[in-house]
């Protein structure tokens, strides 16, 4: 192995080696010592944040992103993509901080009497960042792009016959439906993050939208920079620029906030509230999104409604809320669509009832039930819910084995067919959510719930444009969900975010998305 050779011809002897090494190391040490001084984080002073301040840069350190980050209006995957999308684009209709629909670029969204078509008219005088006016062609282009490529937003448009969609005039389009569909507005605002309007010559690498900020630069997984759109159609941004940086570690987020290297951090765990409060302001958004436990209603043991009801009775919702969200979440009643004006609050709140659960399991012949719960780290609360639920289930003699998978595996080929799993949903109003999950033709039929009466009620609900009648139908569907459904919804998640002391304009949002639906234009830095 060691080749013998004459040490005198070695070229580099031990002595010369040491001499070179010594010189090099010393030089490097001096260089790094000299370099160790440039601008660093100083502890600033607390300033008043009560009245808006113009100018400056807003720096957000957000989690959830990675190398697959995108600026494409139709392809956002996670929170940080939504944040950037909200800066760059506007939907036709979005959500306000009460999670109610509010028209953005549209000035009219109206179904025909028979709900067989929808008319959508743009506000007049809108322009893209490049100055080009926003027209009906852009609306059709955007929707066609989403539908023909099967992009995420297409789940809002399953009932729309895009092939026969028409431009009525410069600002108006008419969208025919395959079957009566009176809830397109709901479906559109629930999916607003995927439906930003883009121009017909859209290039995702140099993205142009109508949003409050313009594209400046983007490095996936690291940082994106935007400048304020001074010609914004609504109230323009207070700050001049917006920098969104990716963070993968909560400790790093909190450190950056403490050292005033960022102004905003998002999606903190309940355990971090104390540190965040000391460093700045904590913003709790009582969102309507959830991490429901999903049971397959067509597979044993969950095909027995008594088993499903028993497992729902096993849950101590207050405990879950306090353990995972420090009591900031809203307790769920196994019905989705919390902030929908048609959400039925008259259904009695389900409480933990171990005796009843045991009795139901006995009746079902499942007294020593063993089940596997598949969970991935897909959203804050998913894994935690699984752990606490498994503990609580023991009280009723149910053994829950948690099978932890990666996010990619969770959404892999078994997604929508796990026997029991924990999914994550952003806030979606009731009927729109039913159209995604529990009704025939739904794109996410993860519970495999099928009930004739329920389906008939749904068909009637989406066929009527009479809001009162629709509410009544919706309430009947919700009762079926509550009594027979395949979802356990222990809580609607709260999102905990924090801002530096100098940030003003913070508003919580019931959508559960950070900083008032990522409304960066309404924030300022004093």
């Amino acid at each position: 192995m060691i080749e013998p050779h004459n040490p005198n011809n070695a070229g580099l002897s031990r002595r010369t080696l040491f001499r070179y090494a010594g010189t090099g190391l010393a030089a490097a040490a001096v260089a790094s010592a000299l370099g160790a001084c440039d601008s660093s984080a100083g502890a600033g002073t607390t300033t008043s944040t009560s009245s808006p301040v113009k100018g400056g840069t807003l720096r957000a350190g957000l989690t959830g992103g990675g190398a697959a980050d995108t600026l494409d209006a139709a392809l956002p995957l996670n929170n940080i993509d939504f944040a950037r999308g909200g800066a760059l684009y506007n939907p036709l209709i979005g959500m306000d901080n009460d999670a109610h629909g509010v028209k953005a670029l549209a000035d009219l969204i109206e179904p025909s009497k028979d709900a067989m078509s929808w008319t959508i008219r743009l506000k007049d005088g809108l322009t893209f960042h490049n100055g080009k006016p926003v027209t009906a062609d852009d609306v059709l282009f955007t929707l066609n792009r989403v539908v023909s490529n099967h992009y995420g937003g297409s789940s809002a448009l399953t009932q729309i016959d895009m092939k026969n969609a028409q431009k009525v005039d410069k600002l108006t389009v008419k969208l025919p439906c395959f079957t009566p569909f009176s809830i397109l507005d709901q479906a559109l605002y629930a999916n607003a993050y995927y439906l930003g309007i883009v121009p017909t010559d859209y290039d995702p690498n140099n993205p142009v939208g109508t949003g409050p900020f313009k594209f400046e630069s983007f490095t996936p997984g690291q940082q994106s920079v935007f400048t304020a759109n001074r010609d914004y159609w609504d109230t323009a941004a207070h700050v001049d620029s917006l920098v969104i940086s990716n963070y993968t570690d909560e400790t790093a987020q909190l450190n950056a906030l403490q050292a005033q290297q960022v102004d905003l951090v998002n999606q903190l765990s309940a355990a971090s509230v104390g540190v965040a409060r000391a460093a700045g302001q904590v913003l709790v958004s009582k969102g309507g999104g959830s991490t429901p436990i999903v049971m397959r209603c067509d597979k044993p043991p969950f095909n027995d409604v008594r088993v499903r009801q028993a497992l729902r009775l096993v849950v101590n919702r207050a405990q879950l809320n306090s353990v995972i969200f420090e009591g900031n979440a809203t307790v769920g009643n196994d019905v989705f669509g919390l902030w929908d004006p048609d959400y039925d609050t008259s259904i009695p709140q389900r409480e933990q009832d171990i005796d009843q659960a045991k009795s139901l399991l006995r009746q079902a012949g499942q007294s020593d039930l063993k089940i596997t719960l598949v969970v991935g780290d897909i959203s804050y609360g998913a894994v935690q819910t699984a752990q606490v639920f498994a503990d609580q289930a023991k009280l009723a003699g149910v053994t829950v084995e948690i099978q932890k998978v990666t996010v990619t595996d969770f959404f892999g080929s078994n997604f929508l067919s796990w026997d029991m799993s924990i999914d994550a949903w952003y806030y979606t109003p009731y009927l729109a959510m039913a159209s995604y999950t529990t009704t025939p033709g739904a794109p996410y039929p993860e519970t495999h719930f099928s009930d004739e009466k329920y389906n008939s009620l749904y068909q009637q609900a989406i066929a009527t444009t009479d809001e009162g009648a629709r509410r009544e139908l919706s309430h009947q569907m919700q009762l079926i969900d509550h009594n027979q459904g395949g979802y356990i919804i222990p809580q609607f998640a709260a999102s905990i975010d924090a801002a530096g002391k100098s940030v003003g304009g913070l508003t919580a949002s019931k959508t559960g998305l950070s900083f008032g639906n990522f409304d960066f234009k309404s924030l300022w830095v004093a």
């Binding site: 192995m1 060691i2 080749e3 013998p4 050779h5 040490p7 002897s13 031990r14 080696l17 040491f18 190391l25 490097a28 040490a29 790094s32 370099g35 160790a36 001084c37 440039d38 601008s39 660093s40 984080a41 100083g42 502890a43 350190g61 990675g66 190398a67 697959a68 980050d69 392809l75 995957l77 490529n149 099967h150 992009y151 995420g152 630069s217 490095t219 996936p220 997984g221 690291q222 940082q223 940086s245 990716n246 963070y247 993968t248 570690d249 400790t251 790093a252 450190n255 403490q258 050292a259 290297q261 990666t406 996010v407 990619t408 595996d409 959404f411 892999g412 997604f415 794109p443 996410y444």
Partner: protein, 313 residues
Amino acid sequence: MLLQRVPLGIVTIWIVTMIVFAATQLLPGNAALAVLGKNATPERLAALEKQMGLDQSPVAQYWHWFSGLLQGDPGRSLVNQQTISSLTGPQVLNSAALVVTAGILGTLIGVAVGLVAAVLRDSPLDHALAATALAILSLPEFVIAIFVTVLFSTNVFHWFPAVSALPPGARPWDHVSMLVLPTIVLVIVIAPYVFRMMRAATVEALESEYGEMAGLKGLTKRQVLLRHALPNAVAPTVQAIGLNLLYLAGGIVVVESVYNYPGVGQALYQAILNKDVPTIQFLVTLLAAFYVIVNIITDVLALMATPRRRLQR
């Protein structure tokens, strides 16, 4: 020796690329799923898999990547379509800056303190240093990182940035203050190894028969240390330094994460999370090359520092 080691090293790297590729094929899921997440409808998934070339056979995918690499083109990231060289180049540079700075400082400090401890062996200072080194070795990196950050940035002194999120395009030496805390943490992590090895090797040399002989000959303590003990302590210490560098190349991932430092650890973690096979392949090949090169260099240096092993027997 080099003539043997270099080709062997290249073969090693090549085998590593094949093993890693095989491993990525065994993992469930693929990059298309990672990009689509919950929006992975069958139609969209099939379209994206075709676009990414994931519908080709594994052998064809490997060959496509490998033939590209031979032509100096590591290809494009599957998940964001950017070229891997433009995407990971700056991150490799960032990590290299951190590893080199921490490696040099950690080595210098370890060697110096090790020498002092060896000379003053069994003194209270020596015992204190040994206990400190042992205590540090038992702490996980993130604990050290939190402690260093609390002390120098967020709570006690506000001297340095708490996170080191270099803006894209910036070079680490443009923001030296951002290198300080991660470097301190890595130095604290590696210096004890070097220290312990240096101290042990020097003590052994000083207490050896030739060390004693040199003293009896009338040489001063200083001369014994510098002329006789030190050169003989170098070989084992070089090996320890080499091991430390290898550790740094893989082990900075925790420190990069805590400081949000855009380095190779973060890049590899993201690539694995996204099943971005060409990026994984490129980064692992690079790390394998680094391991092979550092091993060859430390072996050569250790050999040069050990004259009797160089001589013909």
